[in-house]
């Protein structure tokens, strides 16, 4: 028996090992596409500056709209990174034949997803850190002082990014091709930002809108972020009168499960096979 046959018979590709390999390549590609990289980091910061300049009022004792908005913006940036980036990028990769080539190789499918999630985490961490730095420097946002709040920041980020990433991968199967992807994806992300308590104070929105937004993850990550960055007294202004962190965890976990199921059921490696 030749060495090559032996190697092949023992062959069991590692999902984690190849996933990390994919993730490193994804991050490298992201940083090489300079123009889109700069815009994806700059957009949340630009929005912060614009909204911070327009709305200067206090919305509760000791809380400015800017502080409210910036907390939501950090959550929204995670949505943009995970959901919007992937739901647009994956159909383009499908058009370019990258996915078909990966599917024809012995790479396990899960390694591709692991690589995407890793990319989103790295970019999300950098983006969050940048946005936080600006918010602390210019908008009187205070970094959490208690370990409990840091812990909340950690798990809300982890669950929020995972849910958004998986939903982004799942959504990527909807557009027929890469050119149509932004037109389908951006409105979804934008409407969620308007209705989930990012650009406007959630409790001031019409009731029906609140009910719809509460079905999706962004409302809950934004609320989780406010619990980290706003004074404890502001909890009374939330819809339930508390931060509802337990419910935040439940809803985000549910979206992780739903997103994962959709990914596994609907992911397409090749363009539609209509001919």
């Amino acid at each position: 028996m030749t060495t090559s046959t032996v190697a092949r018979q023992r062959f069991r590709p590692s999902i984690v090992g190849l996933g990390v390999l994919r993730g490193r390549l994804e991050v490298r590609q992201f940083f090489r596409a300079r123009d889109s990289m700069i815009f994806s980091f700059a957009l949340p910061i630009l929005l912060m500056v614009v909204f911070g300049a327009i709305f200067r009022q206090r919305i509760a004792p000791g809380v400015t709209f800017a502080q409210y908005f910036v907390s939501g913006m950090i959550a929204a940036a995670q949505l943009t990174n995970g959901f919007q980036t992937l739901a647009v990028q994956i159909p383009i990769e499908r058009d370019r034949g990258v996915l078909k080539r990966l599917a024809g190789s012995p790479m396990p499918a899960a390694a591709y997803f692991v690589g995407k999630i890793m990319m989103v985490y790295v970019i999300g961490m950098i983006g969050t850190a940048l946005a936080l730095a600006i918010a602390v420097a210019f908008y009187h946002l205070h970094l959490p002082t208690s370990p409990a709040r840091w812990l909340t920041l950690g798990w809300v980020t982890l669950l929020g990014i995972t849910a958004c990433t998986l939903c982004g991968i799942a959504f990527s199967s909807l557009p027929r091709d890469g050119k149509r992807a932004p037109a389908m994806v951006v409105p979804v992300a934008l409407v969620l930002q308007f209705t989930s308590g990012v650009f406007f104070v959630y409790t001031q929105l019409p009731r029906w809108m609140q009910h719809v937004a509460a079905l999706f993850p962004l409302k809950w990550t934004a609320q989780g972020m406010r619990s980290v960055f706003l004074p404890a007294s502001f909890a009374a202004n939330e819809p339930a009168g508390t931060w509802e962190l337990g419910r935040v965890a439940v809803v985000l976990s549910a979206w992780v499960v739903i997103g994962l199921a959709l990914c596994l059921l609907t992911f397409r490696w090749t363009a539609r096979e209509d001919r």
Binding site: T3, S4, A7, R8, Q9, R10, F11, R12, P13, L18, L21, L25, R28, Q29, R32, A33, R96, G97, V98, K100, R101, A103, G104, S105, P106, M107, P108, T270, E273, D274, R275
Partner: protein, 282 residues
């Protein structure tokens, strides 16, 4: 499990709505063979090959590729086949050596990326980003990805589209060296000279059916076909089909008392045979 045959297809069928893209197709490709599928656009070549590669589903028939049904493709089976798709892959910001090196990591016993990049003629472009490559160079990168895992069976779907003549010759040499090393190769092509240069056997596919399988020299009874002698006579061009062209030419030389104007003796080319076959079928 069949150790002698790389590909076995029995009664393969695939419909797209009411259109029968592949219709009761039978084919066996023994290990070590270079087999070329010839056929016009839309004949079912790519559908057939992509079913064998595990990309497309089928509506009927049995398929075995390296002893497995491609529907049950797993990484171990995938590590034994190599695929060069019909469309070109675009890797944008990554360099040639990054792409080839990356894919090499997916395989249990890959070839050396630097060596493979040299084999496909991209040595000078190792560090170039994929988006800066020309069409033909991108095709070579695809080829490198197809062979980096040292496949036992290599699929090449119209591999030389967009190549200049020199690049095609180099590609043919590479295919010959892979075949000499024992790789089974299943090739689809439009180019009859390519099939003639590379293939041990060719199959002509038209409207989803395999209408003939033969060696390139004997396709359509080409080796037995009568020769056609053409010349310019006093009353205009003349031609005569014959099994004894030598005798015909000698008679003409005698009659003209020397050189015969515009004399040619020809047998049907692979192209003539092929065109008449797909024409009859359509």
């Amino acid at each position: 499990m069949d150790d002698d045959n790389a590909v076995i297809i029995r009664g393969l069928a695939r419909n797209y709505g009411a259109y029968r893209a592949v219709d009761n197709l039978h084919l066996t490709v023994p290990r070590g063979e270079v087999f070329a599928l010839l056929g016009p656009n839309g004949a079912g070549k790519t559908t057939t090959v992509e079913i064998l590669e595990g990309y497309r589903r089928r509506d009927g028939g049995e398929v075995e590729v390296l002893g497995r049904d491609p529907r049950d493709a797993d990484p171990r089976w995938r590590s034994r086949i190599g695929i060069v798709l019909q469309s070109t892959g675009e890797f944008e910001e990554l360099t040639v050596e990054e792409v080839v090196g990356h894919f090499a990591r997916f395989y249990p016993n890959p070839d050396d990326p630097t060596k493979v990049i040299g084999q496909v003629g991209l040595a000078g472009k190792s560090r170039a980003r994929a988006k800066t490559l020309s069409g033909g160079q991108r095709r070579r990168l695809d080829l490198a990805l197809g062979i980096i895992g040292r496949p036992e069976l290599l699929f090449l779907d119209e591999p030389t589209t967009g190549f200049d003549p020199q690049a095609r010759r180099e590609f043919w040499d590479l295919v010959r060296s892979l075949a000499a090393a024992g790789t089974t190769i299943l090739l689809t092509t439009h180019y009859l000279d390519e099939a003639e240069a590379l293939a041990d056997r060719v199959g002509v596919i038209a409207e989803g059916r395999l209408i003939e399988v033969a060696t390139p020299a004997s396709l359509g009874g080409r080796n037995l076909a009568r020769a056609r002698v053409r010349w310019l006579d006093r009353d205009g061009p003349r031609e005569q089909d014959t099994e004894t062209p030598g005798a015909v030419v000698r008679a003409l030389v005698d009659r003209f008392g020397g050189e015969v104007p515009e004399l040619t003796v020809s047998r049907p080319t692979l192209e003539d045979v092929y065109l008449s076959m797909i024409h009859e079928d359509a």
